[in-house]
Amino acid sequence: MTAAVSVAVDRVTAVNAALATVLDPELDRPITDLGFVRSVSVAADGSVAAALRLPTYFCAPNFAWLMVEDARRALATLDWAPSCTVVLEDHFASEEINEGVACGRDFADAFPGLADGEAMAQLRATFLRKGHLAAQGRLGKRLLERGWTLQQLSEAALQDLPERLTVTLRRRRALLGLPTGPGTPLFADEEGRAVPAAALEWHLRRARTAGVGISANTEVCEGLLAARYGPGGTAGPERGEVAP
């Protein structure tokens, strides 16, 4: 492999890694896992382009916007890329979203008269909180099955578990602006406060329901994507086109 090809391959890997940090807010999963990244390419000069696609033509434009915007921000962190473009394909609002995000507008400006600004941040936070709750539900179930008591769960901190078990939890907390230090409680409410043992069963019930809602919806979306683009639809992004 020549040095130039090697650099190009590394760059495509870096592009995919950057896009893997972008979540579908509603489904609480990276867009790369969901098959929403149709293609990525890196030109000879390092310019990056990514094409996104969604399960339906009418996927909610606000969520679509958040993904396109987040993808562009993620690619902008690649310091070797002189420019980056993210294009949403096959969507009823593709034009407005692509142009709006490319020009650094906010959602409300891109849809004058049809949307208002501050609701987007709220929407993002609402679904991050669901993801945060669902992650606790999964963890709680696992620990209870291993014999932990509710009392032990309520007293546990992040540092009491191997890091790999708390990755999602810590990521969601970081995005929500909640503390993520080793001594912070494993099970926490929306403000990051520890959930007392007496309230934990209830907390985990709601967490379970939140998780079921998210995963059932993900099943529908994955199936729709496959119906729209063929069964390989969720197999991940196509191999990036590497410029020689």
Binding site: L27, F58, A108, L114, I214, A226
Partner: protein
């Protein structure tokens, strides 16, 4: 009526459509995209023998509907939920008028629901009265996330909406079906937000609020509200087709609904012509919570299935149930883990 293993199931399909998305009626690219999106739903979750050619899916006939719903589909009754979409389709997509023509031809099988938009103000109230006079409405279907002029949607808690709900109560329109799901206009408000249902259900205890699609993907919010409001119901359209390719997910969702709501507030709907009731009903009656999940979710009893498929709708819409399909008075219906609101179930 569906009969299996000596049990009669009275069936009410609470969510059907009679739409026209033919090319002739499709006004623009949005109408084209909309029907293709619906078609992907059919292709995604149906058994392959239930996937239609696109041409038929765009516009099916009265004979198709009668055949699929009643002749082979087991339904004793079916309820039309209108969807106007006048901006996308020249003559509208699935209007009360189009539905009503059929309902008039089959008055002992088909029920047509109306619709209103409180942003129409006084004239809208008069229009609702007129609609009621013409169709003798027992229910309405509402889209709170629809864009109109400079408005980006409305809420059941808006002052104008109170007048409409009060009028419904006065006219005897007791069933308020609310679509909580994706919106089609570029709004950034959360179209799934079910909080307004909470207030409306408290303010109008005489009305029933049926949340279509059970609030997915905000199942937890919906369940929380339904736990507190005894007149809030879950409509299973879009949820029940998961039973074919994703039965474990279906088990989880139905398990959660039964835990939080109890078995008397969950109602069947096929969303025809996206899905056909025949296969949904057959699979649902045969369905059981997978064994390894029963510790968490319990089991689905025959009594629960009978309520979901038709007996609850019969109560909401005053439909007469033949004696063979009624629940024996002393049959213990429960079987699922006792949730916060399952006082009546023998868990």
């Amino acid at each position: 009526m569906y009969r299996k293993d000596g049990t009669d199931y009275f069936v009410v399909d609470g969510h059907i459509h009679y739409w026209d998305a033919s090319e002739a009626n499709t006004a623009n690219k949005y109408g084209e995209g909309f029907i293709r999106c619906f078609y992907d739903y059919q292709r995604n979750l149906s058994p392959s023998e239930w996937v239609w050619p696109l041409e038929k899916f765009r516009k099916y006939s009265e004979q198709d509907l009668v055949h699929d719903i009643f002749e082979t589909g087991y339904a004793d009754w079916a309820i039309f939920q209108p969807t106007y979409l006048s901006e996308f389709y020249t003559e509208g997509f699935n209007t009360t008028e189009r539905n009503g023509e059929l309902a008039r031809k089959y008055p002992d099988r088909l029920i047509v629901n109306g619709a209103f938009d409180p942003r129409e103000g006084e004239p809208g109230l008069a229009r609702l009265e007129q609609l009621h006079a013409e169709w003798n409405l027992r229910g309405v279907k509402l889209y709170t996330a629809e864009w109109r002029g400079s408005s980006k949607g409305w809420k059941l808690t808006d002052p104008e909406a109170q007048e409409y709900l009060a009028l419904c109560e006065q006219l005897g329109i007791r069933n308020i079906h609310i679509h909580k799901g994706p919106t089609i206009w570029p709004l950034n408000r959360d179209a799934f937000d079910v909080a307004d249902v909470d207030h409306a259900a408290s303010a109008f205890p005489g009305l029933n609020f049926i949340v279509e699609h059970a609030g997915l993907p905000r199942l937890d919010d919906f369940c929380w509200i339904a736990t507190q409001e005894p007149n809030v119901y879950a409509g299973l359209s879009v949820v029940i087709p998961l039973i074919h390719t994703r039965p474990r997910y279906f088990a989880q969702v139905i398990g959660e609904l039964l835990y939080w709501l109890d078995e008397d507030r969950i109602v069947f709907g096929s969303d025809y012509a996206i899905w056909s009731p025949k296969w949904l009903i057959e699979k649902f009656v045969d369905f059981q919570i997978p064994q390894d999940m029963q510790g968490e979710y319990g089991v689905l009893t025959t009594a629960v299935k009978r309520k979901i498929l038709g007996l609850t709708h019969a109560r909401l819409y005053d439909l007469k149930v033949p004696e063979t399909a009624q629940l024996p008075v002393d049959e213990p219906a429960g079987g699922l883990s006792a949730g916060p609101n399952t006082g009546s179930a023998a868990a």
